[in-house]
Amino acid sequence: MAKQLAFYIDTSACTACKACQIACKDKNSLPVGLLWRRVYQYQGGDWMPHPNQPNIKSPVSMFAYSVSISCMHCQNPLCVTNCPTGAMHKRDDGVVLINADLCIGCRYCEWSCPYSAPQYNAELEVMTKCDFCQDLLAKGEPPACVAACPTRALNYGELEELQKQHGGLAAIEPLPVSNITNPSVVITPHKNAQPSGRGTGHVANLPEEI
């Protein structure tokens, strides 16, 4: 397999604090509305009268966890396949980048990506996305989101290496099944994580958060 950089997400350690999201916005000076990294809260369950105490309600199958994602720098990136200008491209190290000079802002990549990674910047009139902090990588430093995580839930590295360490899981709810684009990600599941496509919960965030 060719070299492929990947993110590691330990959802058992993610607190949904969004330090990664803010560090990303700071590093990239992103305006409100652009979230190259964002945190999905997935939750489910209900409250039912307790069997022994009908007037006391207790939680049933209640769970909550969160997943922080940015661009998945997929091995089969539909954004790259479908981009009409070739602005969206995949680098030798597997990082998917946008060449803003080529982008025409048609947003076809936005329709194609199941992770909402390419995002339209209305001021610049082009698509923008996570570039894996390529300038930091070049200096041997971790991406801003990884460096920021207070619970060390995020990491990055060679996909194969990460898979050796943490296994091959690349999708849990609410992420789509991984065979659409082969995301370059390795996930350690939260104890309540549900398999993609077969979840009993829902994404809980308010619309403006994601």
């Binding site: 330090a19 803010i22 409250w47 207790s58 207070p150 939260h190």
Partner: protein
């Protein structure tokens, strides 16, 4: 372009549109950005960061969050390009990096925000003595010179002092996000004859007095992180460190989890902490924790699960055979629980009806904490910030002690949250601390008490408990403990000293009435916070990034760990005309005829140097201390301060470069802290600082003192007595929901609330259970009107099974946006909804409120992140 003029230009060009925001952002990356337009701007960012290495300078992150984390600003050619936290050193579980939280990472947008106060200003219709006082909060602003502003403040202060006396000046500050912990708030006013101060337990709720009388320590009991790691079971009661002690504490708990600890979280809300750490969640309604604990005690007693040997040897008050001298034997805890005398057995079912926790869960929880050893039985402050919060503390300590988990590795009962959560508690002695800044203390002759307040019997003060402040201004009467009600006459509100009083004291509606009643209001801050908005004269204050430097060390109560020392430096020149608060106080004092040298006796830089030179660090033996710093004659000359060279553990240069010193730690070292260790080994030889020298389940002096404060009668043993506006009050119908206030990730109290990045990430939603939402036909994102007996607010609702039915909650600290006509606060400040209800030892019961929630049929709100910021003057002011 010089640094200052560039930053000034950058800020003034920041209007409200996204386009200009981008320009600003781009500008932060490189000076070429503004000339080349937006598209070129972003490229310039890339080029600038690629071309110039810049410098990482340790920057202050100084707010009242409890975290003290390492923050570094990347400065390239005088421009801050980005923020980074601690990833500078190798780490292991004993020497963890000090990662900053979400808020710290947003610091650049906070410091350089378009809404920074730029110039001194006055209200257009202001006149000496007031002038259309009802327009406070909605008048226009007029830019004025510093001289005019200081003259107005001085002359009004003088007039009011001379006409009404010093007691007519209320300064509701002193417990906020301290800009400078070395500087005593209100120093100048104290020298000028004093002022009416506010006091209260604030964050600590009902903790201090029961802690003091029952265990001899106001707040404490939790060992350091090395010992917490030895616990098999960690109970977190009403503590959500993920939000309230963001940064490092959660990670310490994760290390304990990795070491094998099981976590049980007790909370009305399945918090982010619970979602991350908890093996089990015990739902419990706000303000009913005492009932849950007493129900647990019943199960323990009736099944012989309590550690009777421990209780007999180390405590008094548990049963009739072990009562303190002079106490009525019938007044023992065991008989209260069993209902021996009142005929009400406090069974788990009895508790369940109150706290909402299923009875079988109460039983299994009681069994688990009784059987598992060692257990860490840890509470946050939140359950104590309730009406009748003392009863929770009494019950918490008592049930904790019933398990016998005291004074041994991994075994502890106590308070640990906010600062040093999961790693001792607020008052634990530090392993490294700063020296004295050298500013002699000044007493406020009128009320020298602040936090947590005067002793119950003291009569040498004229001041208001926090939650009675506005009422006192409006009604002219305040509660003065043993003296009963006393008259007062406030003519001026002095908000210089860094606290958003009007926003952060309960009952904002009454607060606005108070602000509009007095003759003069002056406020100083870096932003148009709520007390600034309702002031006559507003003074712009610098942030810590604009000052010479400073220390966030572990001898102040705001510090995240007892083994760290952070030295931060200046990042930028003062923005616009902002001045630091010492200068402001000195200038006003000068106009009042005081000697500026007395107000400000030690230059700022010298104060910081004194703290550095005097910094002490513990030696390996854990007993002796030595100088932290080696300081050379060159260092002293370079800094331009007075001092003598000294030897210490590390060089000044190293500290300056790294910004952080961590005391080396490893398990088994001699630097750990185990509370009550000696007492556990030999209670006779090492008595506690309590009346009997033992842990006091029964404390008559506690009961007497609380009663003396004048609001609440407290029994000497833990009992559950329904508080006003508790769950019982929801059963009447009009306000069927319990509302409590949580610390929220978007802010540290009210600090950071205006930062768009954080508003976007955390939309100030009302958390509501799915059943309550269904009954109202609500779904996530719908706008709801929240009504309490004290006010109204408008917010989007977040529907979730993660909160108990019948309970709603919202983050405290949003910047009030009240409509005078409707009385609706569309920002959703919890203090717009909270009543005052002073109680106990001067407690602010923020977590005991009732409310109703209905669908909002009016115009929906835009998301907060899209609101215009409070920008008073733009480019051409």
């Amino acid at each position: 372009m010089s640094e200052q003029s560039f930053l000034t230009k950058m800020l003034t060009e920041t209007a409200l549109t996204r386009r200009s925001f981008l320009k600003w952002s781009a500008a932060l990356g490189g000076t070429a950005a503004l000339a080349g337009g937006v598209r070129a701007g972003l490229k310039a960012v890339e080029k600038a960061s690629a071309a110039s290495e810049g410098e990482w300078i340790t920057a202050a992150c100084w707010h009242n969050c409890g975290g003290r984390c390492l923050l570094k600003a990347h400065v390239v050619d005088g421009v801050v390009t980005r923020i980074k936290s601690d990833d500078f050193s190798e780490e292991n579980d004993n020497m963890t990096q000090l990662k900053a939280c979400t808020r710290g990472h947003a610091k650049r947008q906070q410091i350089f925000g378009a809404d920074r106060l730029k110039y001194p200003m006055k209200r257009k219709n202001w006149e000496p003595g007031g002038g259309k006082k009802e327009l406070r909060g909605k008048d226009e602003w007029v830019r004025i010179s510093w001289d005019e502003a200081l003259d107005i403040v001085a002359s009004e202060t003088k007039r009011i002092k001379e006409t009404y006396g010093n007691k007519a000046i209320l300064s509701p500050v002193g417990n906020g996000a301290l800009n400078l912990s070395a500087w005593p708030v209100g120093r100048m006013l104290s020298l000028y004859g004093g002022f009416t101060a506010i006091w209260g337990t604030t964050s600590w709720g009902a903790l201090p007095l029961p802690g003091n009388r029952m265990q001899g320590v106001d707040v404490g009991g939790v060992h350091d992180r090395m010992s917490v790691r030895q616990s098999k079971l960690i109970v977190l009661w009403g503590a959500n460190p993920v939000w309230s002690s963001a940064g490092n504490p959660t990670y310490h708990y994760m290390i304990a989890k990795k070491a094998g600890a099981k976590f049980i979280v007790v909370d009305p809300f399945y918090t982010p902490t619970a979602a991350t750490l908890a093996d089990q969640w015990i739902p419990c309604r706000p303000s009913t924790d005492a009932a849950l604990l007493i129900g647990m005690a019943y199960h323990m007693i009736t099944n012989g699960l309590q550690d009777q040997e421990f209780l007999d040897k180390y405590t008094v008050g548990f049963d009739a055979d072990h009562m303190p001298e002079g106490a009525d034997p019938k007044e023992n805890f065991k008989d209260y629980v069993l209902g021996t005398f009142d005929g009400i057995p406090k069974t788990p079912e009895w508790a369940s009806e109150i706290c909402g926790t299923p009875a079988d869960l109460i039983r299994s929880f009681a069994e688990e904490v009784s059987i598992t050893k060692p257990t860490a039985f840890i509470t946050g402050y939140a359950p104590a910030r309730t009406n009748r919060g003392e009863q929770f503390i009494q019950a918490f300590y008592t049930v904790g002690w019933m398990t016998g988990n005291v004074g041994e590795p991994g075994a502890m009962v106590g308070v640990s949250c906010k600062e040093r959560a999961g790693d001792t508690g607020p008052l634990a002695p530090a392993l490294v601390y700063a020296g004295d800044p050298g500013v002699p203390a000044v007493e406020n002759p009128i009320c020298n008490y602040g936090f947590p307040g005067p002793p119950a019997s003291a009569t040498d003060w004229h001041g208001f408990v926090w939650n009675e402040a506005w009422e006192a201004v409006v009604t002219g009467e305040f509660t003065a403990s043993v003296r009963g009600k006393q008259p007062c006459d406030i003519r001026m509100i002095w908000n210089i000293g860094d606290m958003s009083s009007l926003n952060q004291l309960p009952n904002v509606n009454q607060g606005i009435e108070a602000f509009r009643k007095v003759e003069f209001v002056v406020s100083a801050d870096s932003y148009l916070t709520t007390p600034c908005k309702y002031a006559d004269v507003v003074l712009p204050v610098t942030t810590m990034w604009e000052r010479w430097g400073g220390i966030m060390n572990s001898n102040t109560y705001h510090s995240s760990r007892r083994d760290i020392f952070i030295y931060h430096r200046q990042i930028t020149e003062p923005l616009f005309e902002a001045k630091d608060d010492i200068w402001i106080e000195a200038e006003i004092g000068k106009r009042l005829g005081l000697d500026p040298k007395v107000i400000d006796p030690v230059p700022y830089k010298q104060m910081v140097f004194n703290m550095l030179a005097g910094a002490q660090v513990v030696k390996e033996d854990g007993l002796e201390f030595e100088n932290l710093l080696t300081i050379t004659a060159d260092d002293i000359a370079r800094l331009g301060v007075d001092g003598t060279p000294q030897q210490g553990r590390i060089t000044y240069k190293e500290l300056e470069e790294k910004g952080l010193y961590q005391v080396p730690r490893k398990p088994g070292d001699k630097l750990g802290l185990i509370y009550f260790e000696d007492f556990r080994k030999d209670p006779v030889a090492n008595p506690l600082n309590t009346k009997t020298g033992k842990l006091q389940i029964h404390s008559q002096s506690l009961a007497d003192d609380v009663t003396d404060y004048g609001w609440t009668k407290l029994p000497p043993i833990p009992q559950y007595i329904p508080p006003p506006e508790g769950v019982e009050a929801t059963r009447d119908g009009e306000f069927p929901l319990q509302l409590y206030s949580i610390h929220y990730m978007r802010r540290s109290h009210s600090t950071y609330d205006s930062v768009p990045w954080l508003r976007e990430a955390f939309p100030q939603e009302l958390f509501m259970n799915n059943l309550d939402a269904e009954a109202r036909g609500l779904k996530t994102g719908d706008m709801v009107l929240i009504t309490s007996p004290h006010g109204k607010a408008l917010r989007p609702v977040f529907v979730t099974p993660r909160i108990m039915p019948g309970v709603v909650t919202m983050g405290e600290g949003a910047w009030v946006e009240r409509d005078d006509e409707t009385g609706i606060d569309k920002a959703g400040a919890t203090n717009s909804l909270n009543g005052t209800n002073p109680c106990g030892q001067g407690v602010q019961p923020w977590n005991t409120n009732i409310a109703q929630v209905t669908r909002w049929e009016g115009q929906p709100l835009l998301p907060d992140a899209q609101w215009p910021q409070r920008v008073v003057f733009g480019k051409d002011a």
